[in-house]
Symmetry: C2
Amino acid sequence: MPPLQERNMPFHSYMDIALAEAHAAAARGEVPVGAVIAGADGVIAQAGNRTRELNDPTAHAEMLVIRAACAALGQERLTGYDLYVTLEPCPMCAAAISNARIARLYYGAGDPKSGGVAQGPRVFAHPQCHHRPEVYDGIAAQAAEQLLIDFFVARR
Amino acid sequence: MPPLQERNMPFHSYMDIALAEAHAAAARGEVPVGAVIAGADGVIAQAGNRTRELNDPTAHAEMLVIRAACAALGQERLTGYDLYVTLEPCPMCAAAISNARIARLYYGAGDPKSGGVAQGPRVFAHPQCHHRPEVYDGIAAQAAEQLLIDFFVARR
């Protein structure tokens, strides 16, 4: 696929959908993180965090959206597809993004506490990482971060 | 829970069940990795790798067994439970083991190519890691490794 600029890809629209998924997660009492997988033909899958609802510590938005996209496409890899997520992926999700062969990762807010892309294990930075997506950070970061702040302030 | 020695825990028996799950995975045409979660009362869940069958790059044995154990117990965390797996977990599974608050991780063969515990991102080694299990490696490592070698030789 041609790079972002040439495709004139509406990545802010995709991040808006991810933000809507994060809002919906907050309304369910879940930590507000949302994710979208899109290809040349648009959105393939979208999901929000459901760890509490599903009693599943692996049910982060990125994991659910990868599983949903693979199910929709009937394939084990998402080569050429892009993932949009409102928060920097944790190490589990970063490694799943690599395993799924996602082409490009767009994320919103950085996560100094639990992020695994730009800090901590920096999953894509090791020679053992078999596939590295292109990474674009800070997309709609302020909206994503405010959503998290509002959620945790309300919970106190 | 008291440490392993005091409980006289039959960890070789649990690893035998994990090896049986790995054998079953190979018979399904999946990379042969198997996992078990056990607590003071014995096995809670067991699973083998199903990435191909499920078209799901996240369906590693460890992820499936964590999800199954959480579902069986109706809880999001596995505090006090132990995970047995025939191969060193990848970064995705290592981070999931941390997220699930697994008490002890027993694994068989090391995985220089894709492991995330003793090499590469070393997921548990970072200050950002919120929960570190006790790690015991090399349990029935030769049997686990031979199973992988036989599988990949047969596939050539």
